[in-house]
């Protein structure tokens, strides 16, 4: 995974609640067997008109936000399906950090596995950040993972919580599978123990 230590850039405000994975990336993009190039499908039905042209009212189509690196969203962002395509699409568009009051569990996990940082802040702080993000390209936000802070354009720092292990993996861009496979002995041991105690766990050859 790509490491992420700090990030600064314009933040796109998207104050909608329950932005679901079908909105983030609709199913016609799920037929790929690759991971890349999904940025063009991001927020498809809000971003494009029926004839395929850009919807000028959608935030990411506005000049100020075309290069947004951060998204400031509403409660329960990423709810719905487990499609990692949602994280791939956001990352492919160039956004590596989403700030919201809460995220769905699966989306939250998926995003970190792809070198993205998701930040949970209370609704009042999100409202403040959203307001400032509305100033567009003049409003630059900085995020620092080491110190767990978001600095808003007005200079105010907002501290966020994150699990140590997640933070460690993201700061160092670690491959979690390789890390886990280093624990092969513990896994072997676990399997031996359960096989002795619970042989019924082995599926019958049906």
């Amino acid at each position: 995974m790509k490491a992420l230590k700090e990030l600064s850039g314009v933040a796109a405000p998207m104050p909608m609640i329950n932005v679901d994975t079908d909105m983030i990336i609709p199913k016609q993009y799920l037929k790929t067997i690759g991971r890349s190039g999904l940025g063009k499908g991001l927020f498809h039905s809000m971003r494009y008109n029926d004839d395929g042209t850009d919807n000028p009212d959608f935030v990411l189509n506005k000049e100020a936000y075309k290069d947004a690196k951060i998204l400031i969203a509403g409660d329960n962002f990423g709810c719905g399906s487990s499609r990692e395509h949602a994280a791939w699409a956001i990352e492919d568009f160039g956004i590596r950090c989403v700030i919201a009051p809460s995220f769905s569990d699966i989306f939250y996990n998926n995003a970190f596995k792809n070198g993205m940082l998701l930040i949970r802040l209370p609704q009042e702080q999100i409202d403040e950040l959203t307001e400032q993000a509305e100033f567009g390209s003049n409003a630059v936000f900085s995020v620092d993972l080491e110190s767990q802070t978001v600095t808003a354009p007005d200079g105010k720092e907002h501290t966020f919580e994150i699990d140590d292990f997640r933070k460690h993996c993201l700061l160092n861009g670690l491959d979690e599978i390789a890390l886990t496979l280093e624990k092969a002995q513990s896994i072997d041991q676990y399997e031996t123990n359960t096989n002795n105690a619970h042989s019924w766990l082995n599926p019958a050859a049906g």
Partner: protein, 473 residues
């Protein structure tokens, strides 16, 4: 020993190792795989030269983008075909068992796991699909994962996890006659909201839950994810054992006895701590339908389309206004006056034999309304053949339903079955998100009996009043 919840017990039995911050490496007993979320995971294994650690613990099936018409002559859509062929090749290369589109055991991934006895109480079950929560009906800790995690499980048979909180949803009393697990699960989400379960594993208990059949419990747990929960659980009991006994992949002989003895320990202890407790009165639940674009937008069929300003929170007000516009509905319209164009019976929520029996019971001797297109998509090849043997298929066809081959079908419209822009559907699936069943399509979620009633009258209908409101043939 301290009192433990059912979730605590399953969790503790699966911890392989723990990081200093509490993140755990959890052993995975059962892994289900389908064509849409696995290709990149197998590719990752190949790139890193890693094998599948225990191929016999993974079962693969094609379901999401397969057409539900005759498949014996091959698949037309080149992208779908590529995904299916990729899964076939990957499972062959890595030694994983695979049910292809012509296998009678093929079906929706969450239907075939239980059907084959692959899903068992006390196990951890994962799949690259959010409705993996379904398997919680057996007292299995089951949740959806992303593709990176699919790869992690294939390579190591484990997952890195943080323990969720415990939530109890206790449903007291008995469900009134004609009220089903689908009404119950929608009523619970309407009560808790789609984020109400976030960060929690829900255990469902109480008289109404014990009374549900295994299939009803699957419908209930299937939608735990719609309430934001990581997983839903029902403690196993005699019904669970009876359902599983003799299934192809279930334990046999002495293993079966040992398994049942262990399963009997799988319940929350007296006095176990829950971080959140919600009590629901089953006796007051009416048939439920959704009016908006989130499963929490659910009300009784006897209600009217709500007024956006009636919600207290401003974010809810704006999302309700947007939902009404998308759905083409006016506040104040009685739900029973909303005409429909299509009916979809199927999905991992309601594509099992009991669901089809319900539909047949409602439509027997009736015809579907002339303005309605209605399809029934059995959840698996085995459900399909059982329904044909029981005479259900004949009743449905006689009423005017289209009888299809198994798959996810119009639950998500990745295959040829989908809504056209503006079409309105009475659907037994689980998501009414914008565009979910097809671009611009309008979905009303409900139970199979309610969808059957809507098929007969051509509008949303309270199934309890069908005899007077319907148009019997």
């Amino acid at each position: 020993m301290p009192s433990k919840t059912l979730y605590d017990k399953i969790w503790d039995a699966h911890v392989v190792s723990t990081e200093p911050d509490g993140t755990c490496l959890i052993y995975i007993d059962r892994h289900l795989v389908h064509e849409v979320t696995s290709a990149q995971a197998f590719e990752g294994l190949r790139l890193n030269d890693r094998p599948v650690r225990r191929p016999e613990l993974t079962l693969a099936v094609v379901d999401h983008n397969i057409p539900t018409t005759d498949r014996s002559q091959g698949i037309d859509d080149p992208e779908s075909k590529l995904q299916m062929d990729t899964l076939a090749a990957n499972t062959k290369e890595f030694g994983v068992e695979y049910y292809d589109e012509l296998d009678q055991r093929q079906g929706i991934v969450h239907i075939i796991g239980p059907e084959q006895g692959f899903t068992l109480p006390g196990t951890t079950v994962v799949c690259g699909d959010s409705h993996t929560a379904t398997h919680g009906a057996f007292g299995a800790l089951a949740h959806g994962i992303g593709t990176s995690e699919v790869e992690h499980v294939l390579a190591s048979q484990t997952l890195l996890q943080n323990k969720s909180k415990n939530m109890l949803v206790k449903v007291n009393g008995k469900l009134p006659a004609g009220i089903t697990a689908k009404d119950l699960t929608l009523a619970i989400i309407a009560h808790t909201g789609t984020a109400g379960g976030t960060g929690h594993v829900i255990e469902y208990s109480g008289e109404a839950i014990r009374d549900l059949s295994m299939e009803g419990r699957m419908t209930l747990c299937n939608m735990a994810i719609e309430g934001g929960a990581r997983a839903g659980l029902v403690a196993p009991d005699e019904k669970t054992y009876a359902y599983l006994k003799g299934r192809p992949k279930a334990p046999k002989g002495a293993d079966w006895d040992a398994a049942v003895a262990y399963w009997k320990t799988l319940h929350s202890d007296e006095g176990a701590h829950f971080d959140k407790v919600i009590e629901i009165d089953a006796t007051s639940i009416a048939p439920i339908v959704t009016w908006g674009t989130s499963p929490e937008d659910a009300i009784a069929i006897t209600d009217s389309v709500p007024e956006p300003m009636s919600f207290s929170d401003e974010h809810k007000q704006s999302s309700a206004a947007r939902a009404l516009e998308y759905m083409g509905l006016t506040a104040g319209t009685p739900m029973t006056e909303i005409p429909i164009d299509k009916v979809f019976i199927g999905s991992c929520t309601n594509g099992r034999i009991e669901d089809l029996r319900e539909v047949a019971r409602v439509v027997e001797g009736r015809k579907i309304a002339p303005n309605v297109d209605a399809m029934v998509v059995p959840g698996s090849g085995l459900v399909k053949s059982q329904a044909e043997e029981e005479g259900i298929a004949a009743i449905l066809k006689e009423a005017g339903f289209d009888w299809r081959e198994p798959g996810c079908s119009m639950c998500l419209g990745m295959n040829p079955d989908r809504l056209e822009p503006g079409e309105r559907c009475a659907s037994t699936s689980n998501r009414n998100f914008e565009g979910r069943q097809g671009h611009g399509g309008r979905t009303h979620l409900m139970s199979p009996a309610m969808a059957a009633a809507a098929a007969v009258t051509g509008r949303l209908t309270d199934v309890r009043t069908l005899d007077t409101a319907g148009a019997p043939a």
